[in-house]
Subunit: 232 residues, 2 copies
DNA sequence: AAGAACCTTGACGACTCCTTGACGTTGCGC
DNA sequence: GCGCAACGTCAAGGAGTCGTCAAGGTTCTT
């Protein structure tokens, strides 16, 4: 649960506070919205690893908000519905709208935490310690080794973590915010240390080779993928 | 559920048969094992998309089998525990051993099916559609890439956002107010910056090609679509 | 205790992007 | 036809971001 960034959308103040406190105690950072209009703003401005979503909300309901996430924003982060509605049709609707899990109130907080972890682990491809591969680049999480074209690369621990994030997300673009939060949580360095790490990472991964795999999209983020042709 | 290959590990004959029949009726192919030694053989010889796993089995239990899958075989396919044990510790153990979901007997078969689908869709990264398409124009939000006729276009972040909105709404016309609000919220620039962005967008999207896709409807808004008939 | 590895910080130039404003063009109402 | 408003075109300026790299300090190893 470390350095997870979670958005909680829930109109019951009491329950919301309980969940927030528990999750933060587990090491997550939690933003809270009591309705979907605030949630819509938050979701456009920040990166979240997972969303906890109540169904019955004032105004727009949770189902509709989930659909908006999937269709309009094309966000594929895990969504867990949390609701008192335990009818089969309600659950089916939740999954049908793109939800990943559906937990009925009242629930035990540790179970919620376990479901969150399970979804994050799958999303981050941490179910097994299999090696990640992008083009001729291989990362072995168990051995803490990175090879390119069979050749072992020497990376600092932080550079390794960054590369691992970029590779598991490949070919998606990873925002600076997401990287920083996953690396440091709430303790992001004052100055722009990420730039230095990226510089060193590039030096190790791309410099000794012909084609670059690590791309910068100015103002957007970074990605690792083969042959991103530069347009004129 | 089409063409899914599922392994069911369950020692209760009656329940097993019910689940098999339901899942096959939904279009899946189901192999069945009443104990983990058979399951171990099957899993090594065949590919499965997902495993439905009872906890209490003769001999080795489900937890242990799941652990074996993850650690020894390094298989990352989704695993759903199906069991009558509803205690919190049991559930936590299930997730802790690498399970993706945990459903308590008795359960409704459609709910099981929904959970299976949700896990498959996440595993395959099919949670969201990955590209928007209008005519020969394709936009991939995750990669932050736009192609026309297969050719990668270079767009500024704002131009990209505008195009994304227009393509999402296509072939509808998007008003200037809607665009400005979605781009900047309440902080719309003093001068008419949108005009510049549209100009640059057009330069990238339409200029290098024969036919224009980006249309202006004076006093109304903008749209992106092929061959818009001239209004009378 | 000495040394190595590592992370952070700061400086600098280069680059990108957004805004702004100027000017020409189109189109519609009168 | 005229005038106004909306639109297309384009360049310049400034804010912010990025690549580069070295120095200092902390932690870890030996």
């Amino acid at each position: 649960m470390e350095n997870l960034s979670i958005l909680l959308v829930e109109d019951h103040r009491q329950l919301a506070q309980t969940v927030v406190e528990f999750m933060e105690q587990e090491g997550a950072t939690v933003d809270y919205a009591g309705n979907t209009s605030l949630a819509r703003e938050l979701v456009q401005e920040h990166h979240y690893d997972l969303i906890l979503l109540d169904v019955m909300l004032p105004g727009e309901d949770g189902y509709s908000f989930c659909r908006y996430l999937r269709k309009d924003l094309a966000l594929d982060l895990p969504v867990i519905f949390m609701t008192a509605r335990d009818q089969l049709e309600d659950k089916l609707e939740g999954f049908d709208r793109g939800g990943d899990d559906y937990i009925v109130k009242p629930f035990a907080l540790p179970e919620l935490a376990a479901r969150v972890s399970a979804l994050i682990r799958r999303q981050r491809r941490e179910v097994t310690a299999n090696t990640l591969q992008v083009a001729d680049l291989e990362l072995d999480p168990a051995r803490q080794e990175v090879r390119r074209n069979g050749q072992l690369l020497k990376l600092s621990p932080t550079a390794f973590r960054i590369l691992r994030i970029l590779m598991r997300e490949s070919p998606k673009v990873v925002s600076r915010e997401q990287l920083e939060h996953e690396l440091w949580g709430d303790l992001v360095p004052d100055s722009d240390a990420l730039r230095s790490h990226l510089y060193n990472l590039r030096k190790a991964v791309d410099k000794p080779f012909d084609n670059a795999l690590l791309n910068t999209l100015p103002g957007v983020g970074f990605s690792i993928q083969e042959d991103r042709p530069v347009a004129g």
